[in-house]
């Protein structure tokens, strides 16, 4: 663990300050055949999310009489990571599919879709840290794009600890050689966490401080989400921007 992640000027391996996010780019409606979709880029992390539904539940016996069900698959392309990921779902992908589903399920008004199913597909094209949080941010946009009624639009970011310093939005190198990674998804208007995990060592105080960093960042990301949706749905005033 000789790799230095914070230099003498307090800057990170990619030159960021501890509380600085990487460049984030969002676009809504990027896929043709889904009912809603989004693309999110966060530094080197690149993710497509697509939503299909509400549609009939398949297989039939899984349908619920009084509310809809959500299916979620978080999946990484084989070449998205440094060492080729084997085809098929790894245990990590299965766990992340569960926690991402649970986060989104929290805000979707499932009671409005009795006997229906909503599929959410998160495809990681390149993984450079923060894939689950960027994936949730993208999936949330895709749900909005699909017109699924939600109590709030979730945004998410990871906080980490590297060389003893709390940092926002850790990249893969920081995740690999750092001390902790804490992905957080928040429903901003409800001021509540909907996904929370921690891998690594953090004191209770650091967790508190990290959450505050995440809360602030999530406000910004949420704003970006709204912009991205507006870009798609805005009535263009005479041929301006795309």
């Amino acid at each position: 663990m000789k790799i230095r992640l914070i230099n003498e000027n307090g800057l990170r391996v990619d030159g960021r300050r501890p509380d600085e996010m990487r460049r984030m780019r969002m676009e809504v409606g990027v896929l043709e055949k889904t009912d809603g979709s989004a693309y999110v880029e966060l530094g080197g992390t690149r993710i497509y999310a697509g939503v299909i539904g509400p549609r009939e539940v398949h297989p039939k016996h899984l349908e619920l009489p009084d509310k809809g069900v959500i299916n979620c698959r978080y999946h990484m392309a084989s070449f998205s990571v440094d060492e080729r990921k084997p085809l098929g779902m790894t245990r990590r992908e299965i766990e992340l599919s569960k926690v991402i589903r649970e986060a989104l399920e929290t805000v979707v008004f499932l009671e409005e879709f009795p006997r229906m199913m909503i599929d959410i597909f998160v495809e990681v094209i390149q993984a450079d840290g923060g894939t689950r949080t960027a994936g949730i941010t993208a999936a949330s946009l895709a749900l909005a794009d699909a017109g699924i009624p939600m109590a709030d639009m979730i945004a998410a970011i990871a906080v980490g600890k590297v060389d003893g310093v709390l940092v926002l939005d850790i990249n893969e190198e920081e995740d690999k050689y750092g001390e902790a990674d804490m992905p957080v998804a928040i429903a901003p208007h409800l001021n509540s966490i909907v996904l929370l995990q921690l891998n690594g060592r953090m004191t209770p105080e650091e967790v508190d401080k990290g959450l505050e960093m995440a809360q602030k960042a999530v406000q910004k990301i949420h704003q970006m989400q709204i912009e991205a949706l507006k870009r798609k749905y805005r009535v263009e005033p005479e041929g301006l921007e795309t």
Binding site: L62, L64, D66, K67, V69, I70, N71, C72, R73, R91, R92, I94, E95, S97, K98, V99, I100, R101, E102, A103, E105, T106, A180, M182, I186, A187, L190, N191, S192, I193, V194, L195, L196, Q197, L198, N199, G200, R201, M202, T203, P204, V207, D208, L211, Q215
Partner: protein, 275 residues
Amino acid sequence: MSLGLEKRGYGIKIMKNKIYELLKIGKRIDEREPLQYRKIEISTGVVEKANGSALVSLGKTKILTGIKVEVGTPYPDRPNEGVFTVNAELLPLASKTFEPGPPDERAIELSRIVDRVIRESKAIEVEKLCIVEGQKVYMIFIDCYVLDYDGNYFDASVLSAVAALKTMTLPVYRVVDGRIEAVPGEEMKLPMRTLPVSVTMALIRDKIVVDPLPAEEDVADTVVTIGYDSEGVLSAVQKSSPGLLPVNMFKEMVKIGLDSSAMLRRRLLEGVGDG
């Protein structure tokens, strides 16, 4: 694919009101206090064929962990570290909601949480588990079986896995003519840095309870598991259920969990005969 199938109908709402009314006067459906764990029983060395084993009861929840040691090759980027893996199975005789077959997402989540609590706290001194650098290291297989499920398999599995690790023995190897062989009659304990435990809490409206029962999980707004090492540093967090978790409630949980973790660690030390 992860599929959400929790059924939350009117029955749940009535139950939630009942449980919450009790909580307002500091009571729970099984007479416990909100921050009280159920009775914990720990037996170690219950499977002689395993290198380590522990049967842990947490109320009516029962977990058996067995550990097997093999010799294998290290990961190329960690040539002088031993390797461990955690697996968890929800045996179908433990609950009518468990099904035989390959581990489902709940079993995988359980095994990954147990793994994380142990791994991220650096509990196992893996760098002492190297036999021949780059070639031969100890491989430790930690397998947790849920034998009886009455809620909170997280904390019970962590207790069971750590109790088995703490009491296990490993064969001692020496290199003879370039080949490794076990030294007859010699055994060593697993080198450990800390004794991690996890604390699982349910949020029911504005009330927090530890070690929730299935009925409490059913009505809970959400459920969170936090792992702590011996110094009170967190090593893992998992919000393992849908639902809103207000930020201040989580901060409260971190404190409650810290207290409970100390109690659990004392029980663990008693259980492994070091208390």
